[in-house]
Symmetry: C2
Subunit: 307 residues, 2 copies
């Protein structure tokens, strides 16, 4: 259950298309976002899977403006706005709030490692005070395998106490269910919405009192994932979860972000999608063929994408 109806259920950390010059391609991004919204998932643009940290703040501001101008529902957007630099985080977050985004997903500053909890607290506290807007809804982004710097439970407790309402939830991409469970058990009752970072934990999370999930594969398999989030109390929920796991398992065989782009390129009949910004690289031609063969064999489809 979510306390923020517009952020109910499943969100996709939307992959970002780049043109031949490696510039973000706003037109293709809008098109993909529309397809995702039509498939009932929200838009966590500028996440890890979006290669957001491979884009400058200026590029992200431009993309966010383009998304808002396209008529997409900004209340269904949860852009990633946490950066290493305080002023980048503040500028992006302010813009997101001004555009009516339903929330922002916020990484801790991730360059320095082993930093004290007090330093992380100051980062989020400064951002909240500088943005200075009651409409702000922050979802804390815990992804230790990538950022290395995490969001400890003690930090959540302190932020929730000082900024109730504004500190609205977390995405937990630790892959550690016991941590997700601890977030839910400790904070859900205070209106804190917890989203595991993979649909592998979706049913477990819904049953435990989580809000949904924010998952890479919601870029390619949005409909079935959103369906489970909406019908998790139905008799076939476990069977649905098993079905989701099959697709997830195929994508996880490859490096995730290029695999997502390869699938969109193939099933959307748009090879332009098969491009990544350094330091990421596309799948090899063999890997792409192999991925599609496995997906086809599993009955996977992306209905309406090529339209």
């Amino acid at each position: 259950m979510s306390n923020n109806p517009a952020m109910k259920g499943v969100l996709s950390p939307v992959v970002t298309p780049f043109d031949a010059n490696l510039a973000p391609d706003a037109g293709r991004l809008v098109k993909h976002c529309k397809w995702l919204i039509d498939n009932n998932v929200g838009l966590a643009v500028f996440g890890t899977n979006s290669e957001a940290n491979s884009m400058s703040t200026r590029e992200k501001l431009r993309l966010l403006d383009a998304l808002a101008e396209s008529g997409l529902p900004t209340e269904r957007m949860m852009p990633g706005t946490g950066a290493c630099a305080l002023d980048d985080s503040v500028e992006l977050t302010k813009r997101a709030v001004e555009l009516g985004c339903g929330g922002v997903l916020m990484l801790p500053p991730f360059y320095y490692k082993g930093v004290p909890e007090e330093g992380l607290y100051r980062n989020f506290s400064e951002i909240i005070q500088r943005v200075g807007d009651d409409r702000l809804r922050i979802y804390l982004y815990h992804i230790p395998p990538v950022a290395q710097v995490g969001i400890p439970l003690g930090l959540i407790e302190r932020l929730l106490k000082d900024y109730p309402g504004i500190v609205a939830g977390a995405k937990d991409s630790s892959g550690d269910w016991s941590n997700t469970k601890a977030m839910i058990d400790n904070f859900a009752a205070q209106g804190f919405d917890v989203y595991p970072g993979s649909e592998s934990f979706l049913l477990q999370a819904m049953r435990a009192g989580g809000a949904g999930c924010i998952s890479a594969t919601a870029n390619v398999n949005p409909g079935p994932i959103a369906k489970l989030a909406a019908t998790w109390q139905d008799d076939d929920a476990d069977a649905q979860q098993e079905g989701l796991n099959v697709t997830r398992g195929i994508f996880q065989t490859y490096v995730m972000i290029p695999a997502l782009k390869a699938a969109i390129a193939h099933y959307g009949r748009d090879p332009e999608w098969n491009r990544l910004r350094p330091p990421l690289v596309e799948l090899t031609a063999d890997e792409q063929k192999d991925l599609v063969a496995k997906l086809d064999a599993s009955g996977f489809a992306m209905p309406g994408l090529a339209a």
Copy 2:
């Protein structure tokens, strides 16, 4: 020995002062840089010790302009310009070259972990091509304990082959002498200048054919470190190294960046220096007292700083 005379010997990753609003304080930075230059160390501004990744690209561009306008010798500057986002790296690097900086110190994009060497190659290659200036001199920045993403030897080999002259050297902050030695042994003969990231390795590096060092403590102990780099063939070189190690050892007892700032605040009689951007925090009052007591007892001084 260095192939770039202006980058000979020792550079300081200059710490960045912040004002009460946590904005970069250009006036204090210029003053500290002048003191460092007077003490014969070059200016590796925007390094790890500079909290560079806690500043936005816009803030760094402004500071770099201010440094150049102040009359400081830009040929003695090696600003850190490597960012997670390609366009940030390109913009900062272009500006550094235009301002006549002797080189730039370049981190790899550090958000994604476990990225392929091909992706790192593409990052540096794209930057070099987009900057498109023969005056560019890149020093690759290997600091796995913080960035987690390193500069493997195979990457240096490939970049040196494709961009000889432009790929000018490396700072090795791995703390692993065998890696520093391998960089020197493999590439110094091709005009590749290797700087260990601590003066603890300075004498060893000079004897092995390294170019000097780029060290945090050169912010506070520049004169003696620069002296060893200049006189490493003298009879008292080992004794000099031992003296440097004593000071280094005291600072290493604390978190390095706040300890450097605490020392500058104390010996420069300017408490404004005692401020860090989140996620870093200042030393406690007790730690500050303890640090100064130990430094005083060791005979440490920062001559001319309080002037």
